[in-house]
Amino acid sequence: MQEGLSQSKRQIYIMIALLFLLLFLFVNSLVFGSVPLSFSDVIGLLLFQEPRNLEVSTIILQFRLPRSATAVLAGVALSLSGLLMQTFFKNPLAGPYVLGINSGASFGVALIIFCGSLFPLGFFFSGVTRIAAAFLGAVFVFVLVFMISERLKNKMTLLIVGIMIGYFTSGLVSLLIFFSRASEIQSFLFWTFGSFRGVGFNQLAYFLPSVIVGVLFALWAIKPMNSLLLGEDYAASMGVDIKATKKKIILSGSILTGTTTAFCGPIAFLGIAVPHLCRWFFHTSNHRVLFPAVILMGADIALLAEIIAQLPGSGLTLPLNAVTALLGAPVVIWVIFFKKNI
């Protein structure tokens, strides 16, 4: 291949480095937590050796493994939907959180919890219902923002509209919580803080396939997305079916954001920041490169955020959104200052 050899070689090296970093962070995330464990405990367990005691294996398998897996899935899903939205809206500051897609999903979940408090049926809390509600909420807001964006030429007004829709839905969510039964409120409030820790293996059984479906839809949109960077007229002139592509992007973005929000709560800044980090590291806006890059980088950053939140060695746990904000906000500011392009 003569496809700019040095450039693509460099990209492959960074990709491999990110992969190794992922493995390194994953193992580390199993080590750190409220109960101190050692590397050898984790490595030993991963190599199917007999654990030191049953407690160690329970902590790792029942709590930390699902938590780390959730972090990886959420990082992948949110970062990828951030990439989709930035290209879709031709807006470098678009992302699931900024545009209120997160809040739409929260609203869906809140509605389910509220209904659950009215009609005490276990069915309402099952993974499928939760995902479906979050997905529908996300689609609703995504389509709404999209329809508004068709009428707006200014990129900044779109963001303001997105933020307002976010506030509006959050307001509705607060109302729903207010009228919910006390017993549901606590778990729901915990969920609104955003966390990778609330997901067990039985929920991962829903979370994983949904993310895979979302990623597959996104994969289907890679090819037209590069052309969309030139604007819709150019894309159409190259044979892109604009309407179909938009549907794919909305579907994929909503599945990814919706399911992640359903299980982890609203998590800020991953979606908006990771695509920019990738464009910066890989020097490209080519989606064929960015797609795998965003997946790896998203997983890495999410795991890193979770490890930092554990505050290794302290026994304390920080709120996840505080960590993602500290990591992500500087990236966003950097984008506004130094980059005009997406």
């Binding site: 090819k223 007229d233 002139s237 190259m238 044979g239 490209t284 005009k340």
Partner: protein, 341 residues
């Protein structure tokens, strides 16, 4: 051979109530290998015409046929193998390399993930060589100059291997050298590759020289087609820009700002110097007359020892100048005098 034809094509925009019609019942023909320039004042609908013909915009009525196929009924990827466009939309400084950018044009030929096959890569490299953009292969498109980016855009369009290339004001940001380079390249494509080229421009001079055919899109929602020369002789181009301030120079085939003359001047002398002396006189507001009895001013150009000398007689005073700059200053004084009285 006829490549493209329109049948009662009516272009414009649908609005919430009613529609805005920009042009009605166009019966246009485009032959294989022909280069056609669309001329017309701003806002008349040239871009809409081009986008409609490229299948990017739905006509209000009528049909457009490319090689007998309905352009607006054809599948988008099928159409993209036949028609490529270069539009006026500015490309946001995309951080893609020249190669990645041009290879976007292979979209209608690649599979589900857009992976380039060997043939695709060869086509991309070939069009990059032909358009002189191969040196930008590894350079981010955002870092290129306007002229370079325009060439990359043309290369991207050519990578679609079109039979019809449509360009909307492709020379708008280009300096004169780049402009001629681009026109020469388009000319070569139409002559050697038998590619049909349809472009809109405001550059009447260049269009008159290079185009096989002109489409004059006037403000009466009609298009007059014909060869540049016929249309010039019929004064059709002249009528296109009806403006009291603009005057058409028939001998040179170009448009000039109509001068506002205040006086007449009689001009004689060395043939080589007459043209530019006349330009100075006209700029300063003197209509040039060839009748000696005419005019408040008499200008004579002579060669003395191989150098030009301008002798100006005004109100019985004789003034000698050795450059047109000096003479121009003098004429300016006279003009100011005349305007005062």
């Amino acid at each position: 051979m006829e490549l493209y034809k329109t049948d009662g094509l009516t272009i414009g925009y649908k609005k919430t109530f009613g529609e805005t019609i920009l042009g009605e019942n166009f019966e246009l023909r485009l032959s294989k290998g022909e280069m056609v320039c669309v001329l017309g004042p701003n806002g008349v609908g040239k871009s809409t015409l081009l986008k409609t013909m490229a299948g990017l915009h739905t006509p209000l009525m009528g049909k457009a046929y490319l090689m007998g196929m309905d352009v607006h009924g054809l599948r988008k990827d099928q159409l993209a193998r036949k028609v490529a466009v270069v539009l006026t939309e500015r490309i946001d400084a995309v951080s893609m390399t020249g190669f990645e950018f041009v290879s976007l044009g292979r979209y209608p030929y690649t599979g589900g993930l857009g992976k380039l096959r060997e043939r695709d890569i060869n086509v991309v490299l070939k069009v990059m060589r032909e358009t002189g953009t191969i040196e930008f292969r590894d350079i981010a498109v955002g870092k290129l100059s306007d002229g370079e980016r325009q060439k990359v855009l043309v290369a991207r369009a050519l990578a679609q291997e079109p039979v019809l290339l449509i360009l909307d004001e492709p020379m708008i940001f280009l300096d004169i050298t780049r402009k001629f380079e681009l026109f020469q390249m388009l000319r070569t494509l139409s002559v050697q590759k038998k590619m049909s080229i349809l472009l809109s421009t405001h550059d009447i001079d260049t269009a008159l020289r290079f185009a096989d055919r002109l489409w004059l899109f006037g403000s009466e929602k009609k298009i007059t087609a014909g060869s540049p020369e016929d249309l010039m002789l019929k004064k059709a181009v002249h009528d296109l820009f009806k403006d009291p301030l603009i005057q058409y120079d028939k001998t040179n085939g170009c448009f000039l700002q109509k001068p506002q003359f205040i006086k007449k001047a009689y001009l004689v002398g060395e043939e080589d110097y007459i043209y530019w002396t006349r330009r100075v006189l006209e700029r300063k507001g003197f209509a040039v007359s060839l009748n000696q009895s005419d005019g408040t001013l008499k200008v004579q150009v002579q060669l003395e020892d191989g150098l030009p000398v301008w002798k100006v007689v005004y109100q019985d005073g004789r003034n000698v100048f050795h450059s047109l700059l000096e003479m121009g200053d003098f004429l300016e004084m006279i003009r100011e005098d005349c305007l005062k009285n």
